[in-house]
Assembly symmetry: C2
Homo-oligomer: 213 residues x 2
């Protein structure tokens, strides 16, 4: 019986932990990491702030975990697109378009993940996830080079360039100033423009044959 | 006389502030922002930690100022290269080679500026300085497009892509794991390889005519 009781408590603990993370992700998606305070989160979950600290030692640790789980979803989605059907060039274009569209769909969250100034624990995760994205591009570049579609020499370096280019291309259009301009009805870049220019930049950069569309 | 006394004190204050920043930059250049603690810095300068806080309200504020002054030097150096003689393509290549060489020359500092996980105040500055770099590329891309050298549509977006690609290309080779590999005598990327691949990537991306060398 003692064993079962412990097991049930562990299950409850895990369920509460998962709920905390869900609520935290919602906060970040709505107001960025700036909106993720332990007090507000405890209120959302309906527990005492002290209980939060039983599950996460610090706000930085919690933010890093929210970051990692949201980023893993994006890595998985990009991996699926890059490993789908079509030539390597087509898959690169489709992957980029999908990545941009997903960011556009959750702009606040995307900006938080890519560039919002936040705890160093999140910066650490950013470095790790950028490597995860680079790994995906390394596989695609090797395949495309093998098939004579791309001309790439330092594949690891060029994969890193792609990761940097994609992230930085989105920072501006997703940033708070762009959001303010959009809300004020001022002209801002549309997803289709960002997507097309980003794809052109990346396909050219890896030496894909033109015309690319 | 009262005025002069005040003036002399202000001069002394400014001189001390400048010395603190010099010592802080030295610490970051040798051990990254991780080595920039208020206690160690106060010891370097030869003042009490409390006196440090009279000049900088927090470590984050101090780190942000060190970041900004070191980054401004890089922006100025890149601006000089991009505005030098030669075609837009040549200047882009020269600017990239120079940027990479300067980073290589001060790897620890370059990694600290580009990617070391650190206080959010530094992340804020990173966003601002990435815009400053993008401005330089916007000017060059406009010039190159006008001269028929580059094919770029969304110039602002492509300038951002360049900034991201350059930063991310350097993160790996400058990172602590690469440093450890180098110190252990393992094969690592050389400056010339990084520089050449980065230039190829960027020149192709902006539609510069090949051959590029």
């Amino acid at each position: 019986m003692a064993y079962r009781t412990t097991e049930a408590r562990l299950d409850r603990d895990q369920a509460l932990r998962a709920r905390i993370l869900d609520c935290a992700l919602l906060r970040v998606a709505e107001g960025g990491f700036a909106a993720l305070t332990m007090q507000a989160l405890a209120d959302d979950v309906g527990i005492a702030t002290g209980s939060l600290y039983r599950h996460f030692r610090s706000k930085g640790e919690l933010a890093a975990e929210v970051f990692a789980s949201a980023s893993q979803r994006e890595v998985d989605a990009l991996a699926a697109a890059l490993r789908g059907p079509g030539s390597a060039s087509e898959r690169l274009r489709i992957g980029l378009e999908q990545f941009a569209a997903r960011a556009w769909h959750s702009r606040r969250l995307a900006f938080a993940l890519i560039a919002e100034p936040v705890d160093p624990e999140v910066d650490e995760q950013r470095l790790l996830y950028r490597e995860a994205y680079a790994e995906l591009f390394i596989d695609l570049l090797e395949e495309g080079a093998g098939a004579g579609e791309f001309r790439v020499e330092q594949i690891g370096l060029m994969a890193a360039c792609l990761v940097g280019a994609i992230a930085e291309a989105l920072v501006g259009p997703l940033s708070p100033p762009a959001r303010a301009a959009r809300e004020a009805g001022q002209p801002t870049l549309e997803l289709a423009q960002v997507s097309a220019s980003l794809a052109t930049f990346c396909l050219r950069a890896v030496g894909a044959k033109e015309p690319m569309r």
